[in-house]
């Protein structure tokens, strides 16, 4: 009961966040010192062309009306047309968003699966070589610049060992000669829907290096957070009590202590997911990954405001949803969370 109420409260709060960001995005569009009509009208427009564009874009309507129009069309998934390319933004997003989400979700999972067990192992054998190696690894993972780590991975796993593909989302043989039917835009899922396991594996191999690159930073921090929280929890009396009752060390670590200790790491990884949605431009460029980050940064350079607005909102929604998932997970892991 507590849990349901807690989630409802969080969901309502999230809705406010989305509405608030929509408003902000709209306001920013009003104050930015560039004229959207002039941009829309193309290069070196005449005054007449600009005026025409102003009417087409509904820029002459009063501001409240424009905000409502803006919010309604955003909510219905109609993000308008890019000033630059004149393409439908929703169409572009349909391609870039799944690619980015696939990468972000996969790297978040990697960060969870690497960072948290590493933190547990380091805390369980505090001061040992495992602990020291883990700490060194986490510092490296956090401190190394993304582009450098990406190139390092490419050099070792793609060039030297030839184990994993260098870049792209699919091998050329597949993407050019026998492409996947577009259903969700998530290659892994589309391959499964099409019933093509070798394509699924191909997509998976392509995901590993960019995902590892993105996962390094959150995994390193999650490891540190988990380690210190675990060390604190392992000194608690209920852990001694569990040991006194003969429970296995494994069950004590993962069944009893980790549940108490995993909160900060979960929060941190949730935040890093949001960052991965648009902050992964470098990774997308290095690995030739057709994602949202590149799309947004190009639109910023060309002041393509509708694209920026659409991406901002989409990322906000993804972020809010991810936070809901994290909140729900935390409440399930620690029932006291739902009480606060």
């Amino acid at each position: 009961m507590d849990l349901a109420r807690y989630i409802l409260r969080r969901a309502i709060l999230s809705a406010f966040v989305v509405v608030g960001v929509t408003f902000l995005v709209f306001v920013v569009a009003q104050v930015v010192p560039s004229d959207p009509a002039a941009l829309y009208a193309g290069p070196r427009p005449t005054a007449e062309q600009i005026e025409k564009a102003r009417v087409t874009l509904n820029l002459d309507a009063p501001m409240p009306e424009r905000f409502v129009r803006f919010a309604v069309s955003m909510a219905s998934g109609d993000f308008g047309v890019s000033y630059k390319s004149r393409r439908l933004i929703s169409q572009d997003l349909g391609v870039y968003l799944p690619a980015t989400l696939e990468l972000a979700i996969f790297s978040t999972l990697l960060a969870l699966l690497i960072g948290i067990p590493a933190g547990v192992a380091a805390a369980a054998r505090r001061g040992s070589w495992t602990d020291r190696l883990g700490s060194l690894g986490s510092i490296l993972a956090v401190a190394m610049p993304t582009f450098f780590f990406a190139m390092l991975l490419q050099m070792v796993f793609a060039s030297w060992l030839g184990l994993l593909p260098l870049s792209g989302r699919l091998s050329r043989e597949i993407s050019v000669s026998d492409p996947l039917t577009f259903v969700t835009g998530f290659n892994l899922i589309d391959a499964l829907i099409a019933g093509r396991p070798q394509v699924f594996l191909d997509a998976l191999w392509h995901l590993i290096l960019p995902a590892l690159t993105l996962a390094a930073y959150p995994a390193g921090i999650a490891m540190r957070l988990t380690r210190s929280a675990m060390i604190e929890i392992l000194s608690r009396r209920h852990i001694t009590a569990a040991r006194a009752m003969g429970l296995s060390e494994r069950r004590i670590l993962y069944g009893h202590a980790l549940r108490n200790a995993v909160g900060p790491a979960l929060t941190m990884i949730g935040l890093s997911f949001a960052f991965a949605l648009t902050g992964s431009v470098l990774v997308e460029i290095i690995f030739a990954w057709p994602g949202l980050g590149r799309y947004v940064s190009e639109s910023i350079l060309s002041k393509d405001f509708p694209v920026i607005a659409a991406c901002t909102l989409v990322v906000t929604v993804c972020y809010v949803l991810m936070n809901l998932v994290i909140d729900l997970t935390q409440a399930m892991v620690d029932p006291r969370v739902a009480l606060t």
Partner: protein
């Protein structure tokens, strides 16, 4: 039959500034089926003695003993094996002894499945039965509750049920009533007494409270600064303590002092665990200290049933 026999148990922590002697020399002999009190002030090594029995001392602890036997097995090597199988702990402060993020049912089941190979449904039936045996009403509903939803008394009953769930026949109860209200504490003690006689358990009752000893213990050992100073039937120690420290502990009970009189605190402080002790450890605080006391170790007096270590030939008083 003697279940637990310890002679000259010591627990030492080597540190850069010298050895810390948490336990200097403790003797214990516990009959099967008895509730044996281990009494002393805080810092006298009571809990460390209990942890040594469980093999759960902090890292770096050095344990030594002339005799360290449980039911014919050497505790020095078998403690980890016996822990949870034959020896279980009822921890002080039940709120801290239960994991806050796991349901009671899950915590009971974790213990049960560690020690039994039964299907889940059967284990749940056992859990319900054990919770009921500790006097908890509505145990089935309790399985889905979290510790913070329970009162202190209920939590302590859950902790006792967990100790029973291990199947151990020797329980170390570390200050089981200290964190509870007096009335609830009395109920918990009565429950322990009942479980001991019904299930043939043996209990080492670690406490600083003479009232607890009077209420439930058959025999008791008085510890001072990591040393056993008196051991005997609880009734005899409560009725006529022979060691001056036992007498002082008894006199410090508030009801031992007539109304309007000053409460009888024991003057001075327990010697630091880093300090070497040459004579009687209690000498600096002893009201009947003799010239010989500070420098010569006291002789053991009395008989095998009741003995104490003191220079006074007639005992305290």
């Amino acid at each position: 039959m003697i279940l637990l026999e310890i002679k000259a148990l010591s627990v030492t922590f080597p540190t850069a500034t010298g050895a810390v002697q948490a336990v200097r020399s403790v003797d214990l002999q516990i009959e099967k089926g008895a509730i044996h009190g281990l009494i002393g002030e805080s810092g006298c090594g009571k809990t460390m003695t209990g942890m040594a029995l469980l093999g759960l001392l902090p890292k770096g602890a050095q344990v030594a003993a002339e005799v360290f036997r449980f039911d014919g097995m050497d505790l020095a090597t078998q403690a980890a094996y016996l822990r949870g199988k034959r020896i279980a702990l009822i921890s002080q402060d039940p709120a801290a002894a239960l994991n806050p993020v796991l349901t009671i049912g899950r915590q009971m089941d974790d213990v049960l499945r560690t020690h039994r190979t039964q299907p889940k449904a059967a284990r749940q039936a056992v859990a319900v039965e054990l919770l009921a045996a500790t006097g908890l009403a509505d145990p089935v509903e309790l399985l889905n509750r979290y510790p913070h939803q329970l009162s202190g008394g209920m939590q302590q009953r859950v902790v006792i049920a967990q100790a029973l769930a291990t199947g151990a026949d020797f329980l170390i109860a570390d200050e089981p009533t200290t964190a509870l209200d007096v009335t609830v504490g009395a109920q918990v003690l009565a429950l322990l007494r009942k479980l001991v006689s019904e299930r043939g358990l043996t209990v080492l009752m670690i406490t600083h409270d003479m009232d607890v000893v009077a209420a439930v213990c058959d025999r008791a050992t008085v510890l001072y600064a990591g040393l056993s100073v008196e051991e005997g039937p609880a009734r005899a120690i409560m009725g006529r303590p022979h060691h001056p420290f036992s007498a002082a502990l008894l006199a410090a009970l508030p009801d031992a002092v007539p109304r309007g009189h000053k409460l009888a605190a024991i003057e001075g402080r327990i010697p630091s665990p880093t300090q070497a002790i040459t004579g009687c450890a209690f000498a600096p605080r002893c009201p009947s200290c003799l010239p010989v006391c500070p420098d010569t170790p006291p002789p053991v007096r009395g008989n095998s049933d009741h003995r104490w270590a003191c220079h006074l030939d007639k005992g305290a008083r």
